[in-house]
C-alpha cells in the first residue's frame, strides 16, 4: 500500500470520493463464450478493470515431467497488456505477474475436480486489458467463468473480491486512488456455496478486528458477484432466459 496519509479519501458525509458507500462495490459485468478459438472464455469488467480469461483443455500435459499421475495440473498465466496501466509496462511476465499466476492457479486447483483428469493440463489464460485496482480479483472471477464455460467440473466457483482500509475505515472494493493512498488491501477468492476461501493475500496494516470487518464485506460482495456470474452463464446456456 502506498500509505500516504495526506490524501483524504473519504468525503465529510462518510461516502467515498467516487460517491460509493463504504460497503459498496464498483459495478461489475460478466459475459461468457466471447472467444471463438478457446474451449471456454469470459470477460469481466469490474469498475474500469477489463479482464478476459480463456481456458484450453484438458489435454495431455507436455512435457511429461509436468504430468501428475493422479490429477490434472492447472496452468495459469496472468498477464497485463502493455497498454493496461497508466505507465506502459513492457510485454512479458514480471515478478508480480508470476506470483499472481502461481497463487491463482493454486486457488483454481482447489475447486476444479482435477482428480478426474490424470496426467492432463488445463490452461487458463488471464489477460488484463485495463487496470484500475483489483485486477487479480477480476481475473479470478473471469477464470472461474471461463472454466465453467469450458464445461470443466468444479465443486464451486471462486469469486475474486477485495476489501481494505482507507482513512482508518474499512471499505469494500478499493478503486485506484484508494489502492494508491490507502492503508490496507485484502483480496480473497471465496467459494460462494461452501463459504471457504481458496485465495488470500493482504498487505498494509489491519488489526484483527479490521480483518474481520473486511472479510464480512468480502463475503457479502461475493454473493452479489456470484449472482452476476450465474446470470452470465444462464445468458449463454439458457439463451438468456
Amino acid at each position: 500500500m502506498g500509505g500516504y496519509g495526506d490524501v483524504k479519501l473519504l468525503n465529510d458525509d462518510g461516502t467515498r470520493l467516487d460517491g460509493r458507500a463504504i460497503d459498496e462495490m464498483r459495478p461489475l459485468t460478466a459475459e461468457v463464450g466471447i472467444l471463438p478459438a478457446a474451449d471456454g472464455s469470459a470477460i469481466v469488467t469490474h469498475g474500469l478493470n477489463v479482464a478476459i480469461a480463456a481456458v484450453y483443455g484438458p489435454v495431455e500435459a507436455h512435457p511429461r515431467k509436468i504430468q501428475r499421475q493422479d490429477r490434472a495440473v492447472v496452468d495459469v498465466r496472468y498477464n497485463m497488456a502493455p497498454f493496461s496501466t497508466s505507465d506502459r509496462i513492457r510485454p512479458g511476465y514480471n515478478r508480480r505477474s508470476r506470483e499472481i499466476s502461481k497463487v491463482t492457479a493454486e486457488a483454481l486447483e482447489s475447486v476444479v475436480l482435477v482428480e478426474r483428469f490424470p496426467r492432463a493440463k488445463i490452461s487458463v489464460e488471464i489477460e488484463i486489458l485495463a487496470a484500475e485496482a483489483g485486477t487479480r480479483c477480476a481475473g479470478i472471477t473471469a477464470a472461474s467463468l471461463a472454466l465453467a464455460d469450458a464445461g470443466i467440473p468444479m465443486r464451486d466457483m471462486v469469486v475474486g473480491v477485495a476489501s481494505g482500509k482507507i482513512d482508518n475505515i474499512v471499505v469494500l472494493d478499493l478503486d485506484k486512488a484508494e489502492d494508491n493512498y490507502g492503508q490496507a488491501d485484502l483480496p480473497v477468492g471465496i467459494l460462494p456455496t461452501t463459504g471457504e476461501i481458496a485465495f488470500l493475500q493482504m498487505d498494509g496494516d489491519l488489526s484483527p478486528e479490521e480483518y474481520n470487518t473486511c472479510m464480512e464485506y468480502n463475503f457479502k460482495a461475493a454473493k452479489e458477484i456470484h449472482q452476476i456470474m450465474i446470470d452470465a452463464l444462464k445468458a449463454k446456456y439458457d439463451g438468456g432466459a
Partner: protein, 261 residues
C-alpha cells in the same frame, strides 16, 4: 465445422477453388464482416478493437517522454509491437516473442511508419532534450485467420483516435494526435492454388504463402511482405494489387466513418 487433417483439407480447398468457391461460401475477393470499436480501453491513450470473423485483436497506444536519439534531436519515436500469446489459440505457446509475432509487429510497424502518417518532428517537446515516444501494442485475443489485416486496422484506428496525454507529463493540455494519413493493409493467401482475400483459419491451415500489401491514401505502396512457403509470379501480384487498391479504400472509409461519430 468439420476439422480436416491438412492433406485432406488441402484437397478440399483445391476442389473448391476449381469451382471458384471458398470453404465458407465467400467469393475470391470477399472479406468477412469487420467490426471496429475505438477508444474502448481505460488507460490506453488510444485504443481499438477489431473483430474480423473469428479474429479479435486489440491495439493500445501509450506515450512516454524520453530523450531523443543523438542523431535525431528534433524527432520523437514510433514503435509498434505485437504479442501472440497462448490466449489467441491452441497453436500459440508461452515463451519469448516468436518469429511470427515479431514479423506481425514489424510489418504493421513499417506500413504505418513508411506512410509518413505521423510527423516525428511533431513529437518533439524540447529539441535535444525531450521527445515523445509513441508505443502501439497489438494484442491478438483470438486468431481466426488473417490477424495481419485485423492488427494493422486496429493499430491505425487506435492511432487516429489517440489523445496526446500532455497534461500527464506537465506539457500543456491534452490534444488529439495528428495523424495525417490512413495507411491500410490488405493480405492475400494462396488457397487451392489461387490467391484469396482475407483467408480464414482453415484456409490458412491448408494454404500456402501470403502477401501483405500496405497502401497509402494515394494508392502508393508503403510496405510489402511475403510470408510462408511458396512463390508467385509478377502477373499474380499485379492482380492482387488491383484488388488491394479497392479494398484499402473501403477500409479507409470505414475508419473515417468511425471517426466522424
Amino acid at each position: 465445422m468439420v476439422e480436416l487433417v491438412p492433406s485432406l483439407l488441402r484437397q478440399e480447398l483445391a476442389n473448391l477453388a476449381e469451382d471458384d468457391r471458398r470453404i465458407d461460401g465467400r467469393s475470391q475477393w470477399q472479406s468477412r464482416d469487420i467490426k471496429l470499436e475505438v477508444d474502448c480501453l481505460y488507460n490506453g491513450d488510444g485504443s481499438a478493437k477489431v473483430t474480423l470473423g473469428d479474429t479479435i485483436v486489440y491495439a493500445g497506444v501509450k506515450f512516454e517522454v524520453r530523450t531523443p536519439w543523438p542523431d535525431r534531436p528534433n524527432e520523437g519515436s514510433l514503435m509498434c509491437g505485437a504479442e501472440l500469446r497462448p490466449i489467441a489459440g491452441r497453436k500459440y505457446e508461452p515463451g519469448p516473442p516468436s518469429p511470427e509475432s515479431i514479423e506481425l509487429g514489424r510489418v504493421v510497424d513499417r506500413g504505418i511508419r513508411e506512410s509518413g502518417c505521423i510527423d516525428l518532428q511533431s513529437l518533439c517537446i524540447i529539441p535535444g532534450e525531450k521527445v515523445y515516444g509513441v508505443m502501439i501494442d497489438i494484442h491478438v485475443l483470438s486468431d481466426g485467420g488473417n490477424i495481419f489485416d485485423a492488427s494493422a486496422l486496429a493499430a491505425i484506428a487506435a492511432l487516429r483516435t489517440t489523445t496526446v496525454p500532455a497534461s500527464t507529463f506537465d506539457i500543456g493540455d491534452d490534444h488529439p494526435l495528428q495523424v495525417s494519413k490512413a495507411p491500410m493493409m490488405c493480405s492475400f493467401t494462396r488457397v487451392g492454388g489461387r490467391y484469396v482475400l482475407d483467408a480464414n483459419e482453415q484456409e490458412e491451415l491448408g494454404g500456402n504463402e501470403r502477401i501483405h500489401i500496405t497502401l497509402g491514401d494515394d494508392g502508393h505502396l508503403h510496405s510489402l511482405q511475403k510470408g510462408l512457403k511458396g512463390v508467385f509470379t509478377p502477373a499474380e501480384f499485379a492482380e492482387i494489387l488491383d484488388v488491394a487498391q479497392l479494398r484499402c479504400t473501403e477500409l479507409r472509409d470505414m475508419v473515417s466513418a468511425k471517426e466522424a461519430n
